[in-house]
Symmetry: C2
């Protein structure tokens, strides 16, 4: 969920009405919420950058909170094409797809000098407590993300232990990604993110070894 900005721009240009007002508002609001956070972003800034008048914005979104909801629904829609599809194109194997995805997040972080991080993660910590409907949509975004990963994990068959809870493991990967990004932003460099990914890789290697050993036993 890192480099939506760029890729989503290309999506926009492909479609027929590229500069439709509502989409332009969502596009800019999504970017500014990501860059500055929800509370730190003023409506006036969104209006200026989207080149829209306040009346138009309030025609589509009756309040700033409604705009937040709109942005989170927007994020749900663009998640797969923007975040998942590139990783699926980068690797065929389920496990390698996961690390390709993490590498893409790394690249996104690198492009913005370790700033911004994950737009959904940022909003999760900033607004989840105070805006229940937003919390639900953030949760939905996380669930969708993990569901894709779980699909990748299922595709590797017996290379992971049959006892492993793949749904749980998919959410653990999200945990590691978000935690790694948080520390990288605090550090101002990617070392903590890389270290977290390295530990995750070590875990996966041990899981695969465990599965291999179990298969040997099964053969006998």
């Amino acid at each position: 969920m890192n480099d939506q900005l760029c890729l989503e721009r290309s999506i926009k240009e492909d479609r027929i009405p590229p500069s439709d007002t509502k989409t332009r508002i969502l596009d800019v609001a999504f970017r500014l919420f990501h860059e500055q956070g929800y509370h730190a972003t003023g409506i006036a800034t969104i209006l200026r950058e989207a080149d829209v008048n306040s009346g138009s914005l309030y025609h589509f979104f009756p309040s700033k909170e409604a705009l937040l909801i709109g942005v989170l629904e927007y994020a749900t829609q663009i998640m797969h094409p923007v975040v998942m599809a590139p990783a699926e194109a980068a690797a065929e194997d389920g496990i390698e797809r996961i690390f390709a995805l993490l590498a893409n997040y790394r690249t996104g972080m690198e492009m913005f000098q370790c700033k911004m991080g994950c737009p959904i993660g940022n909003l999760a910590l900033e607004v989840a407590d105070d805006h229940p409907p937003a919390r639900a949509l953030i949760d939905q975004n996380f669930r969708n993300w993990a569901a894709v990963i779980e699909g990748w994990l299922r595709s590797v068959g017996d290379r992971l232990p049959p006892s492993a809870d793949l749904g749980q493991l998919s959410r653990f990967i999200l945990t590691v990604m978000e935690g790694g990004i948080m520390q990288a932003r605090a550090a101002g460099n990617l070392v903590p993110f890389d270290e977290s990914v390295a530990q995750l890789r070590a875990y996966f290697n041990l899981l695969q070894e465990q599965a291999r050993a179990a298969r040997e036993v099964g053969k006998q």
Copy 2:
């Protein structure tokens, strides 16, 4: 860094000047930044809840950003007695201390209906990009946290593989904690946190098994 509120209050009552203005401001600001976030917390609210006039606050902290710095320094000081000491009292073994610490975070989350989470983590995502000195102090808080964990890990000796990078592993534990809290807040329940801890436990079991096997080989 979850239940500082309660424990730090008891600290305050022990010391000689318990209701010193500056400490009262820091106490309230820390709590409100934790509960509502930095931008969502108005100076007026801090003044009201700390029962202090604006002039007094600006006597100690020339700006809201300076107050943020003060709060982060405050957090650095109270981290060990409030967060680490209880876990050290709860378990002797290094590895069990880690999971006791995570259990304490869980309890803190439970007390507040899965809200608030980690005060440092929240600020990391909200202000790290825009306030470089705050970013450095957040990083310092994370480093101190992980350094304590690393000490615990070193104390377990050969029960972890000699090849394991214990500094890296300590930061990975912070990653898992923060990522698990983020998902729990989004979900509105503790399941994702518990799952993350379960996966971390599985990883530790595999690491210990690996170390045991290596020891066997070494004996021969």
